[in-house]
Symmetry: C2
Subunit: 260 residues, 2 copies
């Protein structure tokens, strides 16, 4: 029941439509240099009743014109989020090469569970990077605005030698960029610049995996940087969008090689 597409015909970017829990075990162990992904947070609200609403009802104004499609898998409670995340993180770690990197998004509320899941999945947790959305985040009266999302970083084993990663440069530990609503296709889409920066430590030609591809921004970043990419997306609609966006991301001369 899963579809597989080799976007450029040369294995540079391969995407799967289906559940990552089914697809991850079929991939080659030890082949992945980085997992860069933005899973459903299963968050929102102080109470369970705030979580059972659909993503759109939770996060968008009732009168918003630009309504995004809902996405599945965003209604787990805390225990099952932990169990589920630990499973796909463990599967991903089996695919990871030594010293491979993990970068996983979370909001403030799920951060403790997410770091538990990362470590439970066999990764070595190495830090948190805040993404500062600046004043484009919603304000809250009489309290501090929740204006950051967080990227949990980890490695498969030790950080490794320099040849395992791109140029031993020093990267900043935080990213500031507002949300640009008009450029978004997916309601939780991340800025392309941010994803490219996150892929920084992956060596040229390395393979980047995203088990929750969404509209494919990670794939666009990987292709533009000359890294290989494997993406998985459960929703057929977003799968098609990701396919198109990654195809359009390649420089013209490489696309031409497959032109008739």
């Amino acid at each position: 029941m899963t579809e597989r597409v080799d976007i450029f015909g040369d294995g540079r970017a391969v995407i799967y439509q289906g559940d990552c829990l089914e697809i991850l075990p079929t991939l080659a162990p030890g082949s992945v240099n980085a997992v860069v992904t933005d899973p459903p947070y299963n968050s929102g609200g102080l109470f369970r009743s705030d979580r059972v609403r659909t993503t759109r009802d939770k996060y968008q104004h009732t009168d918003t014109a630009r309504l995004h499609a809902n996405f599945s898998g965003d209604n787990r409670d805390q225990r099952s989020f932990l169990a589920w995340a630990m499973v796909w993180l463990g599967m991903s770690q089996q695919l990871a090469a030594p010293a491979a990197m993990l970068a996983m998004f979370s909001d403030w509320r799920q951060l403790p569970l997410a770091t538990d899941a990362v470590q439970g999945g066999g990764w070595i947790w190495r830090g948190i990077i805040p993404w500062n959305k600046t004043e484009s985040a919603r304000p809250q009266r009489g309290w501090f605005r929740s204006q950051c999302e967080y990227i949990i970083t980890a490695t498969n084993g030790t950080l490794g030698k320099e040849q395992d990663r791109e140029a031993a440069m020093c990267l900043a530990g935080m990213w500031s960029e507002p949300i640009k609503a008009s450029e978004k296709v997916h309601s939780t889409e991340k800025p392309l610049d941010l994803m490219k920066w996150l892929c920084g430590p992956v060596r040229s030609g390395g393979l980047i995996l995203d088990p929750f591809m969404g509209s494919g921004t990670t794939g666009v970043a990987a292709v533009q940087l000359g890294r290989k990419f494997i993406g998985i997306e459960i929703d057929p609609g977003y799968f098609k969008i990701a396919h198109r966006r990654i195809l359009d991301a390649a420089p013209l001369f490489t696309q031409r090689t497959n032109d008739p």
Copy 2:
């Protein structure tokens, strides 16, 4: 075995020298409008052998001229940190008025434990504020710099009505300010501007509690903002320093009232 000093003689700023676990139960329940504190993080490295070293060894280069005194309480393992933090957070919550605020510092490694302790202590966790130390943090070759500390925010019950807090304004959700090592007295001292900003939601005349006063920056902020302050510090040396700094923080005309 505890010392108590009423700094201005009018109850505006009262400090205790001793263990907060002994002193907190002696204070008046329901009297505190905010707990603003920076407890010992007990973080350390990835392994226990890193944790048994003292704070000075971990965080300072051996040839650093400015050697801070080691502060106590930084050698607990994770489970005992959680138990210990839950106890003083619970005691503090007993002292808190309805809708009182909690702001507690943590580093990235202790964040999950700290949020568990906050909730275990009876507070309602409401967010995380990153403090971006900018490029003053040490860079790391081939990886993302760890340049943020975090402030966990919480309330005692609901956010409450506007009269419980200062001006129903919207506050930012992040703070950027480099560390100025030359101005520091304590090795983990926080910028005064940051502490004053954190005290923003406390209404004028409200009481701010800091069970881990250190060199007393929270007290300086409270006094300068016209809030009342109770501080606790276990180390006699820092207790003296805090006493002096808070005394000097008051505007001249108020100090004169106690001059001979």
